[in-house]
């Protein structure tokens, strides 16, 4: 039975046709009918379609009658695609035995082709190259084959050359999946061992888990236990998506599907957790589980303080579906009542903010992201700080520790120098450099998380022209020479603008921030003085000059509509402004720290 199952992902450089190929496979196998056809079928969220990134994992079962006359079950597992979700990606890949590596015949191997190939190879997946877009006039299939062999190091002689757009030769991809990808090799008679690789909340069915069964068999009515939470449940419903939910009696070793077991919160169905039977548990869980752990924290405040309750309700709803997102109420002198929220990374933060604004119609101010600092106080107690404003007075602080991560960067040899320089600039400590293959280098660094969360990934991509891939895991806390940098607007400290920075960087950061603030704070009737200070010592200062006058000379006939529209448009701008004292501070100012050094 397992010999007729293939579990696979599709990886590609952006725009090389991953989603189109997936759409075509769904159609060719009759999984999606013409009536249901819709581009980027697997990316269900509007945000995913717009940004062209996958946020949630997905799995679709297809059936395909192969040349040998046998019917095969093909599980296409759509994986998330960003370093913020590196752990989630690794769990989705763990559910697969292989992956299709899609390469655009007109572009050849590109940066993310390689970066994604490294990730898949790291997950021990068998890679089958597919050359796409052969319909393009600039297509050069031989060149693409050569590059796949030389740059990625895969045998491309048998790689199907297809046009996902027109559908040409796509059936060869199905044959390649069957012939070249390995079948799962679980033990059906062993105790149940299944991996949760994503979960979400459905208002009708409760928590739905995407699972991969490695050993044993999962049946409706089974009493199951989740390894990490130790909680037990009864399997209420089981099945798979094809592409809609199809009920089944069981899922056995090698299969991928959906599980519904009366789990109330996504926090109880953790990505990476192992499911086993209550009565006959497996000996060890599937390796690699990590508790979901927000890495960065920022304040989210409603522009209109009356929207606080709406914001709270919206956060509750989002958290229902996202166990890596946490929030708790906080109060800022400048911004009023809001919430301190924890995210996996900046993209995750942007996604949450965008969903809050779009799906819940809220106007928000988000403060600069911070990591969690550990403060050792002089009285021997320790305090975890996720908001720089809450740092105790200097005289009460013995030392401050900051979180570190161990970063693993895979990169072609020619970019190693640039990567090392970037890591050194970010206060990194080299852990090692290794050469998994001839031109492929792995660079390992221990880095302060605060130096990574802001723009490290973007910089990494830019210095390697996109070729580097990044994977990281937390590696504990270390004492650092850290201080709080305050920003004052017209002499008043604005708590929501405070930052914790390394002492050696404080002056530069203070100057850069003042300059950046000057750019984003619009001129007003009064002069606005912006100062950066450490304690009571001002280290940088800029001034937003006051308008001398602001008046339209003529206002007759047609000018009236124009002016009314101008005022109405300003209302849009105001939706992203917060008044602090007499000064209108735009959202960009609160995130100014993200933009310095550009």
């Amino acid at each position: 039975m397992q010999s007729r199952i293939r579990n696979f992902a599709i990886v590609a450089h952006i725009d090389h046709g991953k989603s189109t190929l997936a759409d075509r496979l769904l159609e060719l196998t009759g999984t999606v009918t013409g009536r249901e056809r819709q581009d980027q079928f697997l990316d269900q969220m509007d945000l995913e379609r717009e940004r062209g990134i996958t946020i949630k994992a997905n799995a679709v079962r297809m059936t395909h009658k192969a040349a040998d006359g046998e019917e095969y079950l093909l599980n296409l597992i759509d994986t998330p695609g960003h370093v913020d979700f590196a752990y989630e990606v690794s769990r989705s890949l763990a559910a697969c035995e292989g992956a299709l590596l899609v390469v655009d015949a007109s572009q050849g191997v590109e940066a993310q082709t390689l970066a994604n190939a490294y990730l898949a190879a790291d997950a021990n997946l068998e890679l089958v190259p597919v050359i796409n877009k052969i319909d393009l006039p600039a297509a050069d299939v031989d060149m693409a084959r050569r590059e796949i062999e030389e740059v990625v190091g895969l045998d491309a002689s048998k790689a199907p050359a297809v046009s996902a757009k027109s559908g040409a030769n796509v059936e060869e991809v199905l044959d390649a999946i069957v012939k070249q990808l390995p079948a799962p090799v679980g033990d059906r008679d062993a105790p149940l061992r299944a991996l949760i690789f994503d979960s979400w909340f459905d208002s009708y069915r409760g928590v739905v888990c995407l699972v991969r069964v490695f050993d044993g068999e999962l049946k409706k009515g089974d009493a199951i236990r989740l390894w990490a939470t130790k909680k037990t449940y009864e399997v209420q419903d089981i099945g798979w998506q094809s592409p809609h939910f199809k009920q089944a009696g069981s899922l056995s070793a090698g299969e991928v599907g959906l599980l519904i077991a009366g789990i109330k919160e996504v926090a109880d169905a953790k990505v990476g957790d192992t499911i086993t039977h209550e009565a006959r548990p497996c000996e060890a869980p599937y390796p690699g589980f990590r508790e979901p752990q927000p890495m960065v924290f920022s304040g989210i405040y409603p522009v209109d303080s009356a929207a606080y309750v709406d914001l709270r309700e919206a956060l509750e709803k989002l958290a229902l579906n996202d166990s890596s997102f946490v929030y708790e109420p906080e109060v800022s002198q400048a911004l009023g009542f809001g919430f301190r929220c924890g995210f996996l990374g900046l993209l995750h933060m942007e996604i949450v903010q965008e969903r809050l604004e779009r799906e819940f119609g809220l106007d928000l101010i988000t403060t600069a992201p911070s990591v969690v600092y550990r403060v050792n106080r002089s009285d021997g107690t320790t305090l975890d700080i996720d908001n720089p404003a809450n740092l105790p007075p200097v005289q009460e602080i013995d030392s401050i520790e900051e979180p570190y991560i161990d970063a693993h960067v895979h990169v072609p040899q020619e970019y190693v120098g640039a990567i090392i320089k970037l890591c050194e600039d970010r206060r990194g400590m080299q852990l090692g450099i290794s050469y998994p293959s001839v031109r492929h280098v792995q660079v390992d660094y221990r880095l302060p998380l605060s130096e990574v969360v802001l723009d490290f990934y973007d910089k990494l991509k830019s210095v390697s022209r996109g070729y580097a891939s990044l994977d990281y895991e937390p590696s504990g806390y270390q004492i650092g020479s850290l201080i709080r940098l305050d920003l004052l607007v017209n002499g008043e400290p604005v708590d929501a603008l405070s930052l914790i920075v390394h002492k050696d960087r404080a002056f530069q950061r203070g100057r850069d921030l003042c300059v950046r603030m000057k750019e984003v704070i619009p001129r007003q009737m009064y002069e606005v003085i912006i100062q950066a200070a450490i304690g009571t010592r001002v280290i940088a200062r800029t001034t937003v000059k006051a308008f001398r006058k602001n008046v339209t000379a003529k206002c007759y006939g047609g000018d009236i509509s124009r002016k009314r529209k101008l005022i109405e448009r300003q209302k849009e701008g105001k939706r992203r402004m917060k008044q602090v004292g007499n000064v209108e501070i735009p959202q960009e100012a609160f995130l100014a720290v993200l933009k310095i050094g550009d």
Binding site: K549, V551, R564, K574
Partner: protein, 388 residues
């Protein structure tokens, strides 16, 4: 009830285009005097047929442009006649015509008076050659300086002159000198504008290229203050941001724009305003005609409405307009009156904005009356922005 209205006739032709002007105007070789007048008369007939104007009375008529003084007098006479025949009139209807200071034979001015024009607005702009030159005006300083005198000789008792400041190369002293020269002519009204260069104009391009420079912000403010105080010292009252008048000589027509009065606007590119008094909350519309003269002549030639765009306005939008426009006036707005007019209470809708304006010294409140302060006039756009 009869509601007062203004009638505006746009004459979109000039003998040449001024390099700072972004108004609808063209400078053709021969002027279609009669054809354009026929078109405007047709538009009047069309608008009369389309809407009921019986409960309106005309308070002012204004010939603007362009350069309406290029128009044949007999065509202007036909206009005035048609309007006075078609609508009930106020006994003291104000009839203004914009005139270039180089087109003023006393005999012509007298004829203007005889066909019913009783107010003249001179496009003088400046009274010194260097500034007229900088503005690319074709009349000279003596035309500017003798305009009022000539109009007085022709019997006019209501004369306005335009004064522009913030001209390239102007300093506060020079601007003050210009204001003094304007006041010395003893007009009844002065429209004093800070030069604003809109994109698409020749001077705006020159500014971008750096071939001309405008006074910087500090200097511009000094210039403005010099002009204001010179005019006020000469006995002109600043009743609106850019408008100064001797007692009793405020422009009836222009004031209408700032007080929510309807305006029947005619001609290519004209912008009109009509209210619907029948609804419980006020509603209305603003329309604009096709700006292209040929299109305008064509559509009226086919007896078709030359309206290009209509914008429907609800009570909230109308109230917003009344607020920002009214706060351009020295006398400000009466919240009680606006509530009765619009059906919405501005004291409630704009409670926060008014409180902030007052706190920042932009307005002063006397019961229901809200008046802009000097600061509120200087920062009128800042003040307006608080209304959103």
């Amino acid at each position: 009830m009869t509601a007062p209205i203004g009638v505006y006739i746009h004459y979109p032709f000039c003998s040449a285009r001024c390099p700072y002007c972004d108004f609808t105007s063209t400078a053709p070789k021969s002027l279609p005097h009669k054809a354009y007048a026929d078109a405007v008369l047709t538009e009047i007939t069309l608008r009369l047929a389309a809407q009921d104007w019986s409960n309106r009375r005309v308070e002012s008529i204004y010939f603007g442009g362009g350069t309406p003084s290029l128009w044949d007098l007999k065509e202007i006479a036909r206009m005035i006649e048609k309007i006075t025949r078609s609508f009930p009139l106020n006994s003291k209807v104000e009839v203004t015509m914009e005139i270039n200071p180089d087109q003023l034979e006393t005999s012509t001015l007298k004829q203007l008076g005889s066909i019913g024009v009783n107010r003249i607005s001179f496009g003088t702009q400046s009274f010194q050659q260097r500034y007229l030159h900088a503005l690319g005006r074709r009349h000279d300083e003596s035309d500017s300086r003798h305009a009022v005198e000539k109009a007085r000789c022709a019997g006019f008792t209501n004369i306005s002159v335009d004064l522009m400041y913030g001209i390239p190369s102007q300093d506060p002293k020079g601007a003050e000198g210009d204001a003094l020269l304007a006041a010395a002519m003893e007009p009844d009204h002065i429209s004093a504008y800070c030069l604003t260069l809109h994109s698409g104009t020749a001077m705006h391009r020159a500014l971008e290229l750096g071939t001309i420079t405008l006074p910087d912000e500090d200097e511009s403010l000094e210039i403005e203050e010099a002009v204001m105080s010179a005019l006020e010292a000469a006995g002109f009252n600043r009743y609106e941001i850019s408008s100064f008048a001797r007692e009793g000589k405020e422009g009836v027509h222009n004031r209408g724009y700032w007080t929510g009065r309807e305006c029947l606007s005619l001609g290519a590119g004209a912008h009109g305003f009509r209210l619907n008094y029948e609804t419980s909350e006020m509603s209305g519309l603003r329309y604009s005609n096709v700006p292209n003269v040929d299109q305008y002549l064509e559509s009226t030639g086919r007896n078709e409405d030359p309206t290009e765009r209509i914008e429907q306005l609800g009570a909230r939008e109308l109230l917003l307009e009344r607020m920002f426009l009214g706060l351009r006036l020295e006398r400000g707005v009466d919240l009680g009156e606006l509530k009765a007019w619009s059906g919405i209470d501005p004291a409630i809708v704009y409670a926060g904005a008014l409180e902030r304006m007052e706190r920042e010294g932009l307005i002063a409140r006397h019961g229901w009356v809200v008046q802009p302060t000097k600061l509120g006039l200087r920062f009128n756009d800042t003040l307006s922005a608080l209304l959103c």
